[in-house]
């Protein structure tokens, strides 16, 4: 896959896979308002994913549309980070993941908008998505506050949620070959440049929530952008792709 396509797929796959995980909250949220809110976040990400995958397919020029890319690629061809493919934990863990991921995406889309990019589609995504992910970040932040500064139990669980996502954070800011190429070419940004901004935002929320920001992880995830995934990914794809793959060539 050419680097430009790979870069777009990385952005799109993150959004797609996280949308898939968030869809699992519908009917499982702690209150009905959250069924709606998490559904909304999932829908926003799915929307971003669709535009990004469609665009990646067009740039590639091999005739693959959004569904070909979502349903007919194998695990090794998906370029999302491990954070988004992890199974649904409890609500605190989800808020920790969402706070981090949305903070990362806020920095990402902000930086993309600041580029004198020649990729108008990508600029369009960034423009629309920035408003969305700012809301996601705020929504998760509100919950981190409520849970951190709520009851004793919720404080402990929210802290545990922050610890649970910790090993998957470094990878968000890894510069891979595709992003290096994209930054060089002026159409993308180096993930490493997004680190400080994202951390600053999360740190402020976590402190206000009377929680501790964990910083030491015995291990860290690696390689999602090269198609090296964690165990849950294959099962996620099996579920997501099964019906589509069961009817080769069908329209829906």
């Amino acid at each position: 896959v050419p680097a430009r396509v790979a870069y777009l797929l990385g952005l799109g796959d993150d959004a797609l896979v996280y949308a898939q995980r968030l869809g699992e909250w519908l009917t499982n949220a702690p209150q009905i308002e959250e069924d709606m809110a998490l559904g909304n976040v999932g829908l926003d990400l799915l929307g971003q994913a669709r535009t990004l995958l469609t665009h990646a397919g067009e740039v590639e020029g091999a005739g693959r549309d959004e569904d070909d890319l979502a349903y007919l690629r194998d695990e090794r061809e998906f370029r999302n980070v491990h954070l988004v493919e992890q199974p649904r934990g409890d609500f605190g863990q989800e808020m920790a993941r969402m706070l981090w991921f949305a903070s990362y995406q806020c920095e990402l889309y902000t930086a993309l908008l600041e580029l004198p990019t020649s990729d108008e589609t990508l600029r369009g995504v960034a423009e629309k998505a920035l408003k969305e992910v700012a809301y996601h970040r705020d929504h998760a932040g509100q919950w981190v506050l409520r849970l951190g500064d709520g009851t004793e139990e919720s404080h402990a669980r929210m802290q545990a949620g922050l610890e649970a996502v910790l090993p998957y954070l470094a990878e968000l800011f890894d510069d891979d070959e595709a992003s290096r190429w994209a930054a060089e070419a002026g159409i993308g940004v180096l993930p490493s440049t997004l680190h400080d901004g994202a951390v600053a935002h999360v740190r402020a929320v976590v402190q206000e929530a009377t929680l501790d920001l964990p910083e030491e992880s015995r291990w860290r995830s690696r390689g999602g952008r090269e198609g090296i995934h964690s165990r849950p990914m294959g099962y996620l794809l099996a579920e997501m792709q099964h019906i589509h793959r069961s009817h080769p060539g069908a329209s829906w």
Partner: protein, 319 residues
Amino acid sequence: EEHMAYFDGLVSADKRIEPRDAMPEGYRKTLIRQIAQHAHSEIIGMQPEGNWISRAPSLRRKAILMAKVQDEAGHGLYLYSAAETLGMDREEMLDLLHAGKQKYSSIFNYPTLTWADAGAIGWLVDGAAIMNQVPLCRCSYGPYARAMIRVCKEESFHQRQGFEILWVLARGTEEQKAMAQDAANRWWWPALMMFGPPDSGEQAKGGHTAQNMAWGIKRFTNDDLRQKFVDMTVPQAQKLGLTLPDPDLTYNEETGHWDFGPIDWDEFWRVLGGDGPCNAERISHRKAAHDEGAWVREAAVAYADKQAARAGAAAGAVA
């Protein structure tokens, strides 16, 4: 006495009763029961379709389905709010649902076995729901009537989406056609049962149709609504190219209606009584989500209390 005369006057003038108005206790209870059941149906109804979000066969369909299930959550919220104006809060209604003391529409005790079922639910189940709900937009209780207007607008959108799912399948591969037909076969009769047992005759079992009509809660009998639904749906099935699983279905030139065969009311009562394919699953899924979320709701209350206390302290300091 005077209050009740005012109530009767409003009802007979086809005006709306509002929460501040006095109302007969039976009216209040009936409405709470009906609105809660309606709200619960929206919430439980998220499950059969939610089952297909992760497996939807295209990203476009996945987005539409997620939005739809989310709309149902929204409908549940409007309706719980409407019921709360009658003096029962949401938490209490959910407890009654989980304890099996308030019901939800029995149609959601049937499983969604294939992707085509997402279409059949939209087409048939939402179609039947709209048939039930449109008259409720003129219900005598104002908050309920207003909630229904919002709900009906979105439901008819969902019904068209369901129809479109089946339309595409019915024009697809042999497997897709078979899937669509199978879904129609399985959902047709349960959809007809959604209007409830007959209001009269052998199968009628102590319904409340007459009283509810007098109160302006109900506008048509179960059988009238069922007939309207059949009359509306048969031509749609023909357009889709699907057969409805009733050999007795024939157009009656005299009445101008579609006659249909006998409904298996034994199955209806069995499923209503708890022995349907998914009754146990629907409630246990719902209860598990509620129980697992208890700590989150408690934290939200605790945080709000702390914030209020802080605001109070700050106000005190300023004063």
